[in-house]
Symmetry: none
Subunit: 146 residues, 2 copies
């Protein structure tokens, strides 16, 4: 079931987008930043193409999309190798809305969620695309004392 669903061309722009995200694995990057960075890199890519590539990469599970608190803009982060290798299919991610850190959570307890929801609610959760939002312990302290 893996093969090429369609003929997908190998283009320079595609490689540039992915390469940049790969080079910044722990950063969340907005579309605008990506456009600017690539332009600065000497390999300019149109905004429309960036969005189209990001959409495609997201579908392929190579990058992950996050939404900023204001809801006006989204940012992307490379997170492909794990998702690609399939080692993430039983573990979830925690994204701190305070500092933006991404925590990989390996826990059998949580793996049971998928089964529970599928059996009791008829919904097949895709852990690779699902991220828990909240506050990490450090940010929680800051918030509480504010």
């Amino acid at each position: 079931m893996q093969g090429n669903r369609k003929s997908e061309y190998q283009t320079r722009q595609k490689a540039c987008v992915l390469a940049y995200l790969e080079a910044h694995p722990e950063q969340h990057i907005t579309a605008a930043q990506l456009v600017a960075a690539l332009s600065r890199n000497g390999t300019p890519v149109g905004a429309a193409t960036v969005y189209r590539q990001l959409e495609r990469l997201e579908e392929q599970g190579l990058v992950r999309r996050y939404v900023m608190d204001d809801g006006n803009s989204a940012c992307w982060q490379f997170g492909g190798e794990e998702a690609k290798a399939g080692t993430c299919h039983s573990h979830f991610h925690l994204k701190c809305t305070g500092c933006g850190i991404l925590i990989h959570l390996d826990c059998d307890h949580l793996a049971a969620i998928t089964a529970h929801v599928r059996e009791d609610h008829g919904f097949a959760i895709d852990p690779a695309r699902t991220t828990f939002y909240g506050l990490c312990s450090a940010c929680a302290e800051q918030t509480s004392e504010e």
Copy 2:
């Protein structure tokens, strides 16, 4: 840190916005829906006013703002006080990546997740911002036979 900062007029529009949200405590309502609903109700309120009131209500903790991972729209829901109290108002959402349907999931089993992750992993999940992605039963069938 509480309510009456003063010089807040009591207007019909303000009451209408709050009344509508109060009347639909378990629903997510977008600004556009709110505008449309109020207009249909015979008490039209301008979009700008709706946003201004929502912003104010959010500050006062009377309503809560949700940002969908779609990124293109935000929703509001009445119920700030309960959320603050921390009572297991664990209300997660399932979003089907196939048809886009949003399922509201009220389930005690899932409420335990929040507690577990907080205690064992030191991470305070915010159910309001967390959405499970996956496939609903209908879309799962379509995909499997494709």
